[in-house]
């Protein structure tokens, strides 16, 4: 089965820190790489997404870095806040949905 491997499993940072979550994929046919954010008791919600023709994308405090040759991509959260505490999932798809999700990273931002 096509996989997306995500690390770390959990992460604790101080407020204002820059947590980094990494994902690696195997299938070079993947062409769409989103990150989803999930709060307890809620469904995942799209945070930011990137396509392999760019190496970086920023939206507000969230940045995706993409390394096509290494088949890796990562999420950086600038100036992290306690409200960013959630589980983050990377995902991938090719040509068309559906998405294949990573196992998730539980982020805790402490004041």
């Amino acid at each position: 089965q096509q996989q997306v491997k995500q690390s770390p499993q959990s992460l604790i940072v101080q407020k204002g820190g820059i947590p980094i979550i990494n994902c690696a994929y195997e299938n070079t046919a993947f062409d769409y790489f989103p990150w989803y954010q999930q709060f307890p008791g809620k469904g995942p919600a799209l945070l930011i997404a990137i396509r392999p023709d760019v190496s970086e994308k920023k939206e507000g405090r969230f940045t995706i870095s993409f390394n096509k040759s290494a088949k890796q991509f990562s999420l950086h959260i600038m100036d992290s806040q306690p409200g960013d505490s959630a589980t983050y999932f990377c995902a991938a798809s090719m040509n068309y949905p559906p998405l294949v999700f990573g196992k998730g990273t539980r982020l805790s931002v402490i004041a």
Binding site: P34, K42, P44, P97, L99
Partner: protein, 114 residues
């Protein structure tokens, strides 16, 4: 804009019983998905509908799981009979179906099989 509606919110059953989940997608969304999210893992696709036709059900355990999408709108997912390992959150999502289009998820149904 109304989101994806799911019910019930929680369900507790004993193994070998049957259970059904309901989903109402965002109005106008042609594509509907059912995902299974086991505690501590990412969502795993069970079935994808395009309008009222099945696009992908390769990971649906068809000996016990079934799903239908009525008139290309609402959908139900059924498990019969349930096993202990079916304990999970069942998420419904919808999208317009375009390439790269984001998925809108409901809050899910948390199923506990005892």
């Amino acid at each position: 804009e109304a989101g994806v509606a799911q019910s019930p919110r929680y369900k507790i059953i004993e193994k070998r019983q049957s259970v059904a989940f309901w989903c109402n997608p965002i109005s106008g969304h042609a594509t509907l998905y059912w995902y299974q999210q086991i505690l501590g893992q990412g969502p795993k696709l069970l079935i994808q509908f395009q309008n009222n036709g099945v696009v992908d059900d390769s990971q649906l355990p068809k000996d016990r799981f079934s799903a239908e999408r009525l008139k290309g709108v609402d959908s139900t997912l059924k498990i019969q009979p349930a096993k202990l390992e079916d304990s999970a959150v069942y998420l419904c999502a919808s999208s317009s179906g375009q390439v790269g289009e984001k998925l809108f998820f409901g809050s899910g149904t948390q199923l506990s099989v005892l």
